[in-house]
């Protein structure tokens, strides 16, 4: 097997691992924003879930209980956002930022007080986190020319949440475009007045959307702390929630293009991790710190519309007031 293939395999696998939390969070944001609620709180929901998942997994020793706790925590945060934005017509960006800041502090405070390891949760053993899964036949088919190594090295050997993220894209697309709920969801985001006239509750549709957003962010946060890493580290989401939101906007609030944007960000990140310290033609060795800014610069360029313009759901950010 050539070095080039191994390098490509490593890069692809790293891209898949990096894209997983982005895809899950971005799809969560997709539900919320398609329903007309700005979901800048993805970051906070991911943190809540990462902490709850790692803490529960550390105490119970079960990754699945951790995952459940993570999802529950993220859904609670999402419901708080819903309560402020839908029930009380609060400013959605302010609410999201408030939740991000609160959760950033809260997870650090509770982690420090409960586990005495400096805002970190205890390191998880093998049973308490999701390990790599060898897909059926990975070794047997590994010797098939061309496709075999690809299947063995790239497709197989990830943890269960990576596959869930991959499956979530078509599932979300199906829900949004092919179900009655999906139709109402999109309609609520475009013209809530019309949906209301048709006798469908705007508030309850938006609440459901935010619960779904919480579930997906829960998966995303749990991935960070009990699959990718083996403990909660303070502020471990490190801007991934914002990147996911950017990917959602760049993907024009549609599942498949959003997946593409997430893969692009993850690829940029995987490349930067490998670029560190290597000599490049013309520029020489790039400083690590500047290379790390690459995904953020890329986001700004993408959002500047140099690669196509995004059209948001018409009613996004507007609280729905019946009497208006």
């Amino acid at each position: 097997m050539s070095d080039a293939f191994l390098f490509a395999a490593l890069l692809t696998a790293a891209t898949a691992r990096g894209a997983t939390p982005l895809v899950l969070a971005a799809l969560g944001g997709l539900f919320a924003e398609r329903a007309g609620v700005v979901d800048i709180g993805l970051e906070g929901k991911m943190l809540a879930s990462a902490f709850a998942a790692a803490a529960s997994a550390a105490i119970t020793g079960s990754a699945w209980i951790g995952l459940g706790a993570g999802i529950a925590a993220a859904v609670m945060v999402s419901l708080l956002h819903a309560f402020a934005c839908i029930t009380h017509h609060g400013n959605q960006v302010v609410s999201g930022m408030a939740l991000n800041i609160t959760l950033s502090g809260l997870t650090a405070v509770l982690g420090y007080a409960w586990f005495h390891e400096g805002s970190q949760t205890p390191l998880l053993g093998p049973g308490a986190r999701f390990g790599p899964i060898a897909l059926p036949g990975a070794t047997a088919l590994g010797n098939v020319p061309a496709l075999g190594p690809i299947y063995r090295e790239i497709v197989s050997g990830h943890n269960v949440l990576v596959y869930i993220a991959a499956a979530a894209v078509p599932v979300v697309a199906w829900i949004v475009y092919r179900t009655r709920f999906g139709l109402r969801l999109r309609a609520v985001g475009e013209s809530p007045g019309a949906v209301d006239t048709a006798g469908v509750s705007v508030a309850s549709t938006r609440y459901k959307a935010l619960v779904l957003s919480g579930v997906l962010c829960g998966l995303s946060g749990a991935y960070l702390s009990i699959a990718h890493h083996a403990s909660f580290i303070r502020d471990m989401s490190a801007g991934k929630g914002y990147l996911a939101l950017a990917a959602l906007i760049f993907g024009q609030w549609r599942p498949v293009p959003t997946l593409g944007a997430c893969l692009l960000f993850a690829f940029a990140d995987a490349v930067q991790a490998r670029l560190q310290g290597t000599e490049l033609p013309l520029v020489g060795v790039m400083p690590v710190q500047l290379v790390q800014a690459l995904p953020y610069v890329l986001t700004v360029l993408l959002l500047a519309g140099f690669v196509g313009r995004a059209v948001a759901p018409a009613a996004i950010g507007l609280p729905y007031v019946k009497e208006r």
């Binding site: 800048i40 708080l80 309560f83 402020a84 934005c85 029930t87 009380h88 017509h89 609060g90 400013n91 959605q92 960006v93 302010v94 609410s95 930022m97 408030a98 939740l99 991000n100 800041i101 609160t102 959760l103 950033s104 502090g105 809260l106 650090a108 405070v109 509770l110 420090y112 007080a113 409960w114 805002s119 303070r234 801007g239 914002y242 939101l245 950017a246 906007i249 400083p287 690590v288 710190q289 500047l290 790390q292 800014a293 953020y296 610069v297 986001t299 700004v300 959002l303 500047a304 519309g305 140099f306 313009r309």
Partner: protein, 366 residues
Amino acid sequence: MAATGAAALRFSRGSAAAVVLPLVNLGVALVLSAGVVLAVGENPGRALWLLASGAFGSAEAVGYTLYYATSFVFTGLAVAVAFHAGLFNIGAEGQAYLGGLAVALLCLGAHGWPTTLVVAAAVVVAAAAGAAWAFVPAWLQARRGSHVVITTIMFNFIAAALMTHLLVNVLIKPGQQSPETREFAPSTWLPQLHEVARALGWEIGRSPVNLSLLLALAAGALVWLYLWRTRWGYELRALGHNRTAAVYGRIRPGRTIIVAMSISGALAGLMSLNEVMGVQHRLLLNFTGGAGYVGIAVALMGRNHPVGIVLAAGLFGALYQGGSELSFDMPALTRDMVVVIQGLIILVCGALEHALRGPVEALLRS
């Protein structure tokens, strides 16, 4: 006459609600925070007492409170100016960071300049650097339609990466490990208030509060004049209130957005005078310490009015100073507790501000 009387009464009730409501909301946020303190296994009453005495217990404590408050006045004003134009500037953190870079470069280069000249130049470069860092997201919002919230967040990350690079690889004092510049020459330091007071014959406690406090108050007055007493301020508020009407009134939204964000960035950049020139006398990694985000809470608490912002900044200064004393006496509570309180205040005073309006107004009416 009766109609005017009723209007006056309604007005006084309205303004009473404007004062009472933030206080009620603050109380709710503190009650929620008390829940967190309980979850950690500490006594919230004792925590509040330690917080208050840590913030106001002595002249030094008050000085520290004012020192924190100075930064928060700048960032609070920054967020508020953008808010009035209908923009949410989350990038005050990065703008202040870049302001600090400009101030540090100036102070490192200003050998033998008279202090007044250095201070005047520092005000200019700090404001210019902050404005420049806000200009790009503003331009992108105005001309390319990319959302200022996301781009300013990205610019915070980019600023952090850039500054880490500069401090680790370029500006670091040779022969030392920690990423910071060498100390500036004392002639470039912004005088601290206890030194000024001593020169005038008074003795007040030693604390880092410095002349930038007066600058912050002056900035507040200027912002008030600008927003409510000039044509440009009117245009800015009109745009924030109703874009369609503003455009109908021949206000150019793109240009107004760029001006508003640049002023906002300039105010955020000035925050670095307090920290870099007044206290640390060198450029440190993460010297902003989240002041940009506190600015959001301050602006919301202070209802985007300079007077309110100064009061709210004082409150948050007390929270920060008291919070560090608190974590000293209650080791189970880290300083992150202050971040929690800050987030809850933004949530209750910002996003949930209407939730208690009905009950509070009903209570005032009875």
